[in-house]
Symmetry: C2
Subunit: 161 residues, 2 copies
DNA sequence: ATATAATGGATATTACAGATCCATAATAAA
DNA sequence: TTTATTATGGATCTGTAATATCCATTATAT
């Protein structure tokens, strides 16, 4: 399980837009050369961000992108949810029937299974709550916040992963 | 981004082992029929869990699996890390050079970039900390804990996702 | 010995992220 | 109006990782 490259690109693109002076549109050429992503690929990502109302886009000469609202109003969670999707991280055996019927086979009452299923299921509860912990943190951190942090930072250490 | 099916299988398998009486080995046949996974696939998963010391396995007649330590000593994080790997959820532009050199192009001193990179980078800091929130929660919740929850649960609601 | 049961290597299959291409629409400027 | 510019969205290709199966081998109880 990993965040997609798209999320990394999206976050960085928004950081760049947040830095650019308000009112000025930043084109896909500029963004892609800064981020080292192809124009075609990055434009898909920007398009998604636009569809979800995080950025505005204007076509034509001097067109490009700008933030649709203040950087302090765009959370990391916003970006992650647009680019990773909004499904839960943990899904119970997609597509198939419930995997634990055999547990009931031994018992006599189908109404009192050994595990609880559905909403009350302890496995799913833990996994969903764990996801929630991460989401809460992402929601509390905005692009603006990260931008501020950048100001008070140490010397450059190249990231050549 | 989603947890793999393997993680779901692994968690459920451990729940089953935790329920089974101590000392009794549970075979792959029994597990796979309970979980609805193929024997071959599930055995790979069990093998990983064994290599990481979460379960013990014994071959041959009456062989099978049992927990290697108390269910109260096996956390959800243990399972997730074995089956999802231990890489960070967020990795900076794997393989390529750092994506933001253009930011420095405008400036004069390469030693004072507009963004901080590497360890101090605000983007990576937020993403890693978010992951940490989830991991902490997963570490605080054990198989035993989930098992206890199951006892105090409401009526069965089939999970036919 | 024999039947049982996990192991690990090899390999196939599938799904999805990553990536590119192109025809179209929208916009500003000449 | 024409032209150059720029984003859009559909189609499609590719590469990789998750999923899945097969089988030869090893280990163990009876
Ligand atoms: S037992 Fe719980 S976690 Fe497992 S499939 Fe059912 S509802 Fe989901
Ligand atoms: S700017 Fe930060 S998050 Fe982006 S690639 Fe560099 S170190 Fe990673």
């Amino acid at each position: 399980m990993q965040f997609s490259k798209s999320t990394a690109y999206g976050l960085h693109a928004l950081m760049l837009l947040a830095k650019s002076e308000r009112g000025r549109n930043v084109g896909i050429k500029e963004l892609s050369s800064s981020l080292g992503a192809s124009e075609s690929y990055l434009s898909k990502i920007m398009s998604k961000l636009r569809q979800d109302g995080l950025v505005r886009a204007v076509t034509g000469v001097n067109g490009g992108y700008e933030l649709a609202r203040a950087a302090s109003e765009i959370t990391f969670l916003d970006v992650v949810q647009v680019l990773e999707g909004r499904q839960h991280l943990y899904e119970c055996f997609h597509g198939s029937d419930h995997p634990l019927p055999a547990l009931e086979a031994a018992g006599d009452e189908p109404e009192t299974p050994e595990f609880a299923f559905g909403e009350g299921c302890p496995v799913k509860q833990v996994m969903d709550a764990a996801e929630q912990q991460m989401n809460r943190y992402l929601q509390q951190h905005t692009i603006q916040l990260a931008l501020n942090q950048a100001g008070s930072c140490d010397a450059h250490t190249a990231c050549k992963k």
